[in-house]
């Protein structure tokens, strides 16, 4: 797995287009949210800003980059090349997605770190970390499933839009309006309960016993995404 991850790191940092979508765009968007934090806090709360930051990185740095990378590697038959070695499928997939996931994780830590410095630290860091982890696993599994439906890196610009925009829209809807209305719907939407969990852990004031069950729908989406990935992911281009 590690040799694949190492080579993937090299490829990401040598490809300008991936570097811009993977690093620069989410950083610019996050900088804007942090810079205008007073305005966004008035619309929602600081927790809402934290949730939008997490989903911006999750949608662009992680999800979109993973779909683009996997479809490019499949189109180049690089996946087939890796499968002609002794490496197993889980090791290949882990090696290919580890650098993207690690980059996204470091980004979110840095961005939320900066946000915490300028606006105050979150109420429950441990549970926030769990919520971010669950969100990232869900986005990664959705990336594998979407990659199965994406023929080329160019197509990824289109096929990633529904999920990336939908998850950010859900995060904004839940973050701004809360879950007093349409509670079940909001919690069952992909990213809905994760957003509520991030808002609660950042703002504080919600007992742990009320926040923990919010992990269940997020983990449910992880399972759904993994099942979709197992059904849809392809190792070779369609002929």
């Amino acid at each position: 797995m590690l040799p694949i991850a190492y080579s993937e790191f090299a490829q990401i940092f040598r490809n300008r287009a991936v570097l811009i979508s993977n690093l620069v765009m989410p950083l610019v968007a996050s900088a804007f949210f942090i810079y205008r934090r007073d305005m966004f806090a008035q619309i929602g709360s600081l927790g809402y800003i934290a949730a939008v930051l997490v989903f911006t990185v999750g949608a662009f740095s992680l999800y979109t980059t993973a779909v683009t990378t996997l479809s490019a590697r499949r189109q180049d038959l690089f996946l087939k090349r890796l499968r002609s070695t002794a490496a197993g499928d889980p090791a290949i997939l882990s090696g290919l997605t580890l650098p993207v996931a690690l980059t996204a994780f470091v980004q979110v830590v840095v961005i939320l770190g900066v946000f915490a410095v300028v606006s105050g630290r979150p109420a429950n860091v441990a549970l926030l970390a769990v919520a971010i982890l669950a969100t990232f696993v869900m986005m990664l599994a959705l990336a594998l499933a979407t990659a199965g439906l994406t023929g080329s890196p160019e197509q990824a610009q289109v096929t990633t839009l529904p999920i990336s925009l939908a998850t950010i829209a859900v995060a904004s809807w839940v973050g701004i309006t809360g879950t007093e209305s349409f509670t079940l719907l909001k919690r069952l939407l992909p990213g809905g309960s994760a957003t509520e969990l991030i808002v609660n852990t950042w703002n504080g004031g919600v007992p742990l016993a009320e926040s923990l069950p919010l992990l269940a729908p997020t983990l449910g989406w992880v399972v759904v995404a993994i099942v979709l990935a197992l059904r849809l992911f392809r190792w070779e281009p369609r002929r």
């Binding site: 040799p3 590697r73 180049d76 038959l77 690089f78 090349r81 002609s84 002794a86 490496a87």
Partner: protein
Amino acid sequence: MGYAEKTSGAPYRPVIDVDRLNVSYGDFHAVKDLSFRVEQGELYALLGTNGAGKTSALEVIEGHRRASSGAVRVFGESPADRRAVRPRMGIMLQESGFSADLTVTESVRLVGRLSDRSDSVDRVLGIVDLAHKAATRVGQLSGGEKRRLDFATTVYGRPELIFLDEPTTGLDIQSRDALWEAVEELRGNGSTVILTTHYLEEAQQHADRIGLMHRGALRSQGTVAELTRKLPAAIQFSLSPGAPVPPLGAARPAGPAYQIETFELQADLKRLLDWADLHDVDLHGLSAAPTRLDDVFRAIETDPVPTPTR
């Protein structure tokens, strides 16, 4: 350690054993009851027309695809068991499959490490004359250079079994010669080779045995001599107007020329020359050609009846 050494004292097993292999895609039956064996040290060429099923068969044997039915064993193991078989085999794919953003050295090192074999990157790049391109990114290589890079990763660590899928497509003559020289060196050390190619002369020159596939089935297999002796050789010549026709029953007009098809080329040629000498007849443009693999190939394409293969 060679396979034969490893299994000495154990029951005999070939390096590759394909038994009634079938591969289907929906209603399309790509490979039909394919059976053959490859012994250690052999170079076995699997040839066929486009769509004959050889790539599907090869992908199952390499472990890239599941069989619809039948059994395939490589070194006595399932080819899908990558941990068991891949460290012992090198696979040259039909298309390169390298990342454009990695350098030549990084590509060889990556595939080598993942194959669990050890070797020197410089050594294998030297074999394919790519040492001067070691730091070049793969995206900047020509098509032929990518094929050579593919071969370099294939022979990294001197594997016991080598798959060569259209290995010389896009290569210039010097590169082809270098590639075959490297293959022969590996065979000298006991490596087994499976080859598919559209260059029949390469198969004829290098293969110990050849399997000919057509429409999913193995229609014939054997050495070049065994395959070609099933078809007659040809003697061709032209005669001056009014000259007598040789009394060899098989002589017949073929355009402006005459042709004799024979299974005893030397004897019939001698008879023809003796007759011409005796009757003072000039045989213009006389040629005598043994049966070539191309002729066997064409005959199989037009032969509707499958022949037993094993």
